[in-house]
């Protein structure tokens, strides 16, 4: 709640005092929940073995670094996300453009695609691709995972692209028409280059959600970070340590991506958009 305007300067010290109190209270809550976790775990006779975790990340053997299962899983997650993102952009752009095209078939197809994907769970789509489509077409599980992820995120990317294209001022279209550019050239040379800047921030958000959704492919046993974590837990029973490590790795990945996105946003100023 915003404070009523005109707070006097003499309140400053009191405010600082309150801030410190609040910070301490928050710390107390953190410590308290940590203690609850610890107490709960010791009630289950849980044996904490944090010292065993680093070897699963990687270790030095003869001066050479060898990645452990968790880091290898992280690599697979990145690979999976990269390919899916590429395909997501293709699906999304195709859906957005055909929704904007004069063709009613394209319009209907894009609409059906978006509605089906948005109104069914990701998990069920993954099962459909993996259990129905993959055996018919002879895809392996990695390809099936990439396809399922890309189909899912593509429907959301379509909305992002559509919004980005529609945000380009009418004047740009009209000017391009006046110059006699073909429809392809208008998109290629005028609209899409400007839309890229608008589309970038929501697209990074999409990439973050793609990383998170990629954890789902552990269900079909693609060897990603979550799968490696689950396998290790089954072997070692270090449930808490490994799940926390896995969650921290995902957190590091998504936060660094968000930071990269805001850096990119600052580097690429909005040019020309909004004053056309």
């Amino acid at each position: 709640m915003p404070d009523p305007a005109g707070r006097r300067a003499s309140d400053d010290r009191r405010r600082r005092w309150r801030t410190a109190c609040d910070g301490l209270a928050f710390l107390a809550v953190l410590v308290g929940s940590g203690w609850l976790l610890y107490a709960g775990a010791s009630e289950l006779q849980y044996n904490w073995q944090w010292y065993r975790v680093p070897q699963y990340l990687g270790r030095f053997e003869g001066g050479e670094f060898r990645a452990g299962p968790l880091l290898r899983g992280l690599g697979v997650t990145l690979e999976l996300t990269g390919w899916s993102l590429l395909l997501t952009v293709v699906f999304g752009l195709a859906a957005a453009l055909s929704q904007r095209s004069a063709s009613w078939a394209g319009h209907a197809l894009a609409r059906v695609y978006v509605e089906i994907v948005r109104n069914t769970p990701m998990l069920v789509q993954l099962y459909l691709v993996y259990f129905v489509l993959a055996p018919i077409l002879g895809m392996d599980r990695f390809v099936a995972a990439v396809l399922a992820l890309a189909l899912f995120e593509g429907a959301f990317a379509a909305e992002i692209f559509r919004a980005g294209i529609e945000a380009i001022p009418r004047g740009q279209w009209e000017a391009a028409d006046a110059l006699g550019l073909s429809r392809y050239a208008v998109y290629r040379r005028v609209i899409l280059p400007q839309a890229v800047r608008l589309v970038l921030p929501p697209l990074t958000g999409l990439a973050v959600s793609l990383i998170k959704h990629s954890a789902l492919v552990s269900v079909i046993a693609v060897a990603d970070l979550t799968t490696e974590g689950r396998n290790l837990i089954a072997d070692t029973f270090m449930t808490f340590e490994l799940w926390f490590t896995v969650a921290a790795l995902y957190l590091a990945l998504t936060t660094s991506l968000s930071m990269l996105a805001s850096w990119l946003e600052r580097r690429l100023p909005l040019r020309g958009v909004g004053n056309g």
């Binding site: 709640m1 109190c21 609040d22 078939a105 197809l109 018919i136 552990s218 926390f244 995902y250 957190l251």
Partner: protein, 294 residues
């Protein structure tokens, strides 16, 4: 697109041909390489079946669908409560509450749903359920209570499991609801706060009497969307063995061997539920907007 302008262009022909080609190829491969014989006749029997003693009863898919609806209802209510409180925390004047709300939201939104659900399920089923002593309470409950419980939450013997899944789901969706609530409150112009302050209204009544009633209007459409997301995310709960629609699908696909038919049916059920709700919400929103304009 207006239907008057409907014309059959070369692009339409191309797109239709490509779609027909793809679908045809998939069916051809299913027949020739996979030798799959489609058989849809068994599917209705998985919804309801006839029992010689009890008459018509729900079978796996029917029960699963009902469980998903129950999860959605209770999960939606719980998520709205958690999200409402946390959303208010996010905009509170107290740093403590802001930090609390912020860490909850960031923690949930930056871990994969699957990882979140696995971690919390482990906690809830291992620690909270014994503390609440749900199991022995059910054992002691009277038959009438059990009947009510069965109506509200499904089979009573699965209740602890159901509750763990429900709380996981609500905690997860609550973070998104909190963000919607925060955005809704922040969408109210500053002038409203300042006007109330000028009239001598303290912050709390300002929030309750002036800001929230206006924010409610901004919050309802995204909340409806989030409710549909909740239904979709409830499929994840099947992975911790809560017996809802996706779980029933997994079981049936394995036991009956009718993999293609079962998964297509499950997907269709989710689609009908979510798409139907989305249409309903859009209609309600449209009617509300029209009434407001008059």
């Amino acid at each position: 697109m207006s239907w008057r302008k409907l014309r059959f262009g070369w692009l339409d022909a191309l797109i239709l041909a490509v779609v027909a080609g793809l679908v045809g190829y998939v069916f051809y491969r299913a027949q020739s390489h996979f030798h799959y014989s489609w058989d849809w006749r068994l599917i209705p029997g998985y919804f309801v079946r006839h029992d010689p003693e009890r008459g018509w009863i729900l079978n796996l898919l029917g029960q699963g669908f009902l469980a998903t609806v129950r999860l959605a209802l209770w999960g939606g209510l719980l998520a709205a409560a958690i999200g409402g409180v946390m959303g208010l925390c996010r905009i509170s004047g107290s740093l403590f509450l802001r930090l609390l709300g912020r860490s909850y939201v960031e923690l949930v939104r930056n871990t994969p749903p699957l990882v979140f659900i696995f971690i919390f399920y482990f906690f809830l089923s291992g620690q909270l359920m014994p503390v609440l002593d749900v199991e022995s309470r059910i054992a002691r409950a009277s038959p009438e209570t059990l009947q009510v419980l069965a109506l509200l939450f499904g089979q009573p013997d699965l209740l602890p499991n159901f509750l763990s899944g429900l709380i996981c789901l609500a905690l997860f969706e609550g973070a998104y609801v909190a963000e919607i609530v925060r955005a809704g409150i922040e969408s109210i112009p500053r002038g409203q706060w300042e006007g109330a302050a000028a009239l001598g209204l303290p912050p709390r009544p300002t929030l309750a009497k002036i800001i929230l009633p206006q924010a409610l209007r901004a919050v309802v459409p995204p909340l409806a969307g989030q409710f549909i997301s909740l239904i979709k995310d409830s499929a994840l709960i099947s992975l911790i063995s809560i017996q809802e629609l996706t779980f029933a699908g997994t079981e049936l696909a394995v036991s009956s061997g009718r993999v293609f038919e079962v998964w297509l049916t499950v997907a269709a059920l989710y689609f009908l539920l979510c798409f139907g709700l989305a249409r309903l919400f859009r209609r309600l929103e449209w009617r509300l907007a029209r009434r407001r304009d008059r």
